[in-house]
């Protein structure tokens, strides 16, 4: 299941297998005299989702069509069940500093990348993380979410306050806030807590706390839907990306006095 729409009104849309999700990441390659290969990659990869519908009526796709034609103003966000079960945080927030990009910044906008040990596939693995500063960091970009309960977890190099969260309404005003503390777990330090979006809350923001001691780094963050505790294993970020909805490609299959049926193909493209 997917939810698609502007901030605060993520609405369920029907999808059918197979949805292909290719990722586009700009890259180039050069070969040196010695045969050494150098690959350059863009820091961000962008996904797209192609949804196919067969013999459905225009009423079934009225919402998607109006998103595509701009009837419902954007920006539009795509909430997928895949992300809800794996990790609703985008890559630069789930793994701050991945490919040099971080949505978790220190006060003043600084990004300093460190490492944190987190359980990945059952093995304690060193991953990218963001260093905390002497004061609390800047709030991250908003992760748009439907109302409900979520579990937020993360890994840290130290015990103590690991990350601060807040939910905000459509005007950016804080609705609720809280912090998560890390405690010793599986050879590292991990913290997890429930975050609930209620009332007018439309999204979640995170920020780095003031460091508990020198070299305090935080990473491997994970946000899942529901209030069930997560497994200790970390999973990579899928995010709730901003998307553009391409105009539907329509193949008319049947037009009678009582019924219209068409095949549709609609592509959603991630933007940032």
């Amino acid at each position: 299941m997917m939810r698609l729409g502007p901030l605060g009104s993520l609405r369920a849309i029907d999808t059918y297998p197979e949805v292909s999700v290719p990722t586009q990441r700009a890259t180039s390659e050069r070969t040196m005299l010695s045969g050494r290969r150098i690959v350059q990659r863009a820091p961000l990869g962008m996904r797209s989702w192609t949804l196919d519908y067969q013999r459905v009526s225009p009423a079934d796709l009225a919402y998607l069509t109006s998103l595509a034609s701009g009837v419902i103003p954007g920006p539009l966000y795509l909430y997928t069940e895949v992300a809800a079960q794996t990790n609703l945080l985008p890559v630069p927030l789930a793994s701050p500093g991945a490919m040099g990009v971080s949505d978790l910044r220190q006060d003043g906008g600084y990004v300093v990348r460190g490492r944190v040990s987190a359980l990945l596939g059952g093995t304690l693995t060193s991953q990218v993380a963001a260093y905390c500063g002497s004061v609390a960091g800047e709030w991250s970009p908003v992760v748009p979410l439907p109302l409900g309960s979520y579990r937020l977890s993360g890994w840290s190099t130290h015990s103590g306050t690991m990350v601060t969260w807040r939910t905000i309404d459509a005007t950016g005003t804080q609705v609720a806030t809280g912090s998560i503390s890390a405690a010793s777990a599986s050879g590292g330090y991990r913290g997890e807590a429930t975050v609930t979006l209620s009332g007018g809350a439309v999204g979640l923001q995170l920020r780095l706390p003031a460091e508990v001691s020198a070299g305090h780094a935080v990473g491997a963050l994970r946000l899942t839907a529901g209030s069930t505790a997560q497994a200790t294993d970390w999973l990579p970020g899928q995010g709730v990306p901003q998307v553009v909805v391409d105009d539907p490609e329509q193949t008319l299959q049947l037009v009678t006095a009582s019924r219209i049926a068409s095949d549709y193909s609609i592509t959603l493209r991630e933007v940032r």
Binding site: T27, S34, G100
Partner: protein, 719 residues
Amino acid sequence: MTKGATVPATRASVDLGDGAREVDPLEWSSSRSLSGGGLPGQARAVTGSSVGSGSLTIHDDSGATPWSATPPRPGGAVAIDMTDNLERMVDGGASAWREVARSRVRSISAPSLLSGERAIDFEDDVPRGDVTVPTMLAAGSMDACTVIDIAARQGGYYATRPPAATTIMSLPLVGSLRNEVGPDGSSTISDGARYGHTGEIDAQAMLTDSMITARINDDLSAGPQIHYVVGLSTVILDTSTHPVVLYLDGEVGELLRVQVNSTGVTLVNASTSVTATHAMTSLTRVEVLRQSNRWDLYINGSYRTNVTANPTDAIASVQVSATTAGLAGGLTVDENGTSVMGTAFTPNAFISPAGAPLEAVIGANGDAWALIQDIARATLSAAWIDERGNLIFRGRDQMRGGPIWATVDVLDSMEDLPWSVSADEVADRVEVTYRAPVVSRVVDDSLTIWESTDTVAVGGGKTVTIVRDIDGAADRPASWERVEDTGTYPAGQKSRYAAWTAPPGESGSAPAASALDVTSEMVTPTRLRIRIRNTTGSTIWVYQLTARANTRALPGEPVSIVSGADEATARAPFTHDAGSWVQDSASAAEIQSWLASSLMSPLPVIGPASVAVDADRLLGDTIVADVRSAALGPDGEPLEAIKIKALVSGVSQSAQAGELRQSLTLTALHSIERDMADYILRTLGPSATEADWAAHVTALGLVTEDDLAAFINKGGILP
């Protein structure tokens, strides 16, 4: 070295007429290349000049067109930074961006009226505008780079602090002791002043190894309400043992000594001394402020400490002394000048000596950048605007190979390294032409600089102005006397005029001395302006004018130094005209012998090389291209290991998403004496003897002179 997998990133800001703003570029390209030096490709040096240019494509969210309320306008600033690996940058901290360009928008275009895409062409901002170089006749105390400094300052590029409204004395000390404000400096060593540069890339030409005196004739004791600031805007030190010293002297003796070495600054007066420690390794500004009862020390504009003013005499003169290890620049005295402390100064011109001592500067004016290019070409130097937007001028000794900046592993970091050897660029006759000026000096105003026997009629009460170009250059013309007045001065002294109350040949008489008021001045070093005012009521005819001065410089006849075939049989002669920017035979001979050594036999030329991106490779860097031994030869046998010393004479870079490309133009350089000295020091230690060297050569298997030459040729002595 670049890692195999990298995440290149760029950031840019551009001002399209509505203020500088950050933009996310779609793509950009930038290139810098030294050219125009007129040297064949195989010459073992780079000269000339570079004006960087490039293009930047952005998406303009405002969508402004030329018909909008705030239309996009060219002329704004463009800044592009890059990193070859964003990952490494965030691991290392937030400040690892490397500058690509600090440039100016030349043109803006859009592919469509409906498109937000803007293609921006940019070009470096070189010093522009007319510049007049004043008459400079200071024998032995000038280097050609002083003219570069004058032109650079005219264009807003400052190697030392520019004068403020409060400045009563300013001597840049870049290549000369000339004043910018206040009195000229004078050197106390017999052969004039000396100029040097540090081994660092941020070289400045400054006074070294001599002492200058700059006398302040004003009374600087006028009381506690007037605060004098005396300081050096730029102090560069190599080692701690030899300080730069600034002496502030009164009429009868020393008032204060300011000693600067690499650990800090010490203020010394007759009764006491205080020291302020400060890391002085970079370009540092040091100033002292005279208060009513003490001297305050400021380092880089911040107050540090003070010492009692004792005795409290007026400052009568200021002296600077530096050693070969220390360089000083920008001697300034400010009156009531505490305001200058608040103005941060960062040099944006780095000017090294051209290695061409000048007797005199004759008739130098014109466009600032054209003048800089002309001097760079004549003295085999190079001038360019670098990636940070600074003006760089490097003399020929640096362009033949400065300190080796990096060793580049060719196999691992270059896509290829094409080379060629051609007989086309070989010269069988090398001729260097220079002009030494004839500088004459007297003290009795007896040197004639201009003469006229044309008749000039000056009407009653009228003023006639005559502007004439003189032959050569002169300093201040002498005051004017009548030809008849020989009582005080002989007829051969002073500027003279002859006048008659009627047209010459008709009946009349010589007018009284007070009848004509004649004054004159040099408009430019080579242009004389004479004003003749008739104070009587009737016309007077002036039929002879002779302007005289104490110092006169005439352009000398061209002198040529030649080697190789004679003129009749030479088939490929090479001529280098150094014009008036090389004025001594020693410099000319050095240029000639060096040109001959690199032009008289075929030498390899390296083509443009596409390299793995390294943001640290800058135009003008000297690098060693290291081709380590590898099984790569065309016959399958291991390629012999070689090292090539080369200067980066061109850098071009381009970027788009996920791709950053860099291509270097390399000019091969000869190994110079210093490389050999470094090699001996590195391999045999500081106390090596001739016997040690002989044993070392034998151990290397070098039997003949040719063996040693081959060893050097393949870079055996390079690090």
